[in-house]
Symmetry: C2
Subunit: 195 residues, 2 copies
Amino acid sequence: MSAMRRRLTIIPLGYALLGLLARDSLSGYDVIRRMEEPVGFFWHARRSQIYPELARLEQAGLVVYVVVAQEDRPDKKVYTLTPAGREALREWVTRPSRPPLDRDEFMLKIYSIWLADPQQALALVRTHEGYHAERLARYQAIEAEMERDWPPAARRLDSPKFAAYATLRRGLEYERGYAAWCRWLAEALEAGMSQ
Amino acid sequence: MSAMRRRLTIIPLGYALLGLLARDSLSGYDVIRRMEEPVGFFWHARRSQIYPELARLEQAGLVVYVVVAQEDRPDKKVYTLTPAGREALREWVTRPSRPPLDRDEFMLKIYSIWLADPQQALALVRTHEGYHAERLARYQAIEAEMERDWPPAARRLDSPKFAAYATLRRGLEYERGYAAWCRWLAEALEAGMSQ
DNA sequence: GGACGCATGTAATAGGTTACATGATTAC
DNA sequence: GTAATCATGTAACCTATTACATGCGTCC
């Protein structure tokens, strides 16, 4: 009797959930916690989207759940990937797709920065440099942890850890590049102001 | 008598349009053509979103339009930024904001690439390297054009051309970094396969 | 005769965010 | 007592995409 709309295609979020469940069986709550650090460093979602999507994957037969009763805590639904789910995920991974154009509100601001007071503009850019430097530092800590704790088997192509490391490399590169660009712009603004 | 909903806040797309109109007065159609190459290299929109948004900006008093009659072509509405629009844009530029987390479907695929056949995975990554190399080449062509055609005044901080160049630098960096990461991954896949 | 460019829009739908909603247990 | 953790959801709203809709003039 659910009013849930049936969707025929699985959205990227669905594959993010399948990607997590291909590693471990998890409750919805656990999935939400895993997604606090974006999946593959480049996908995130809120719980209001995660719970209904898990229900859809279940209706599509890509995951199944068992209710686990707990003492002193609410019961939970533990989701597990089905063979069909694993196959759907594998098929999607190599399905051809073109990279979409990215949106970045900060770049839109920079496009109109010539209207702003240079001192304020400089402060803005320095602040954003800080945000990206912060993320970079966090990613570097994760990298150090991986290098310390992961066994040699994590380097195999068929290891989920290798895949996670590959996405981390991109995250590191992205934040490093963004922070460096902020520094370049800040220096250009400073040089332009002193003339 | 319009059924258009009145929104109180201006969305990033609205500021993208103001950013274009701060440079030149344009018709809706011209705005659409300018947006074929994303504004600031990181914002794009379809005409179904652009026409209503221009109407909203007009109702908010941030732009005005005059109908220009043309022979042998349909009439057009030419939009011009008002002083209030210019002020709203300037205020928004330095308004504090944190960078949101980016979504990238390709990274989500890489997170599950350990499930795929290595040969297919390699082809996927090489294809994406090609897409980013293409964009990089296009941006480099734009850079060369800027260096050739722009007067020394384009280097001033209060020049819209300087702002456009700054965003291009980020676009170049982004595509270069992405393509380089694809190459790293492709090589890692090749090395892993031959063992 | 048909495709393309100029020019302006509307309608339906999907995806994602914010706010709403509940309730027990544990730690301070 | 009050905040945080565990646990699962729903409702309302906003943004963006896809498809629909029209019509004249020019070029091949």
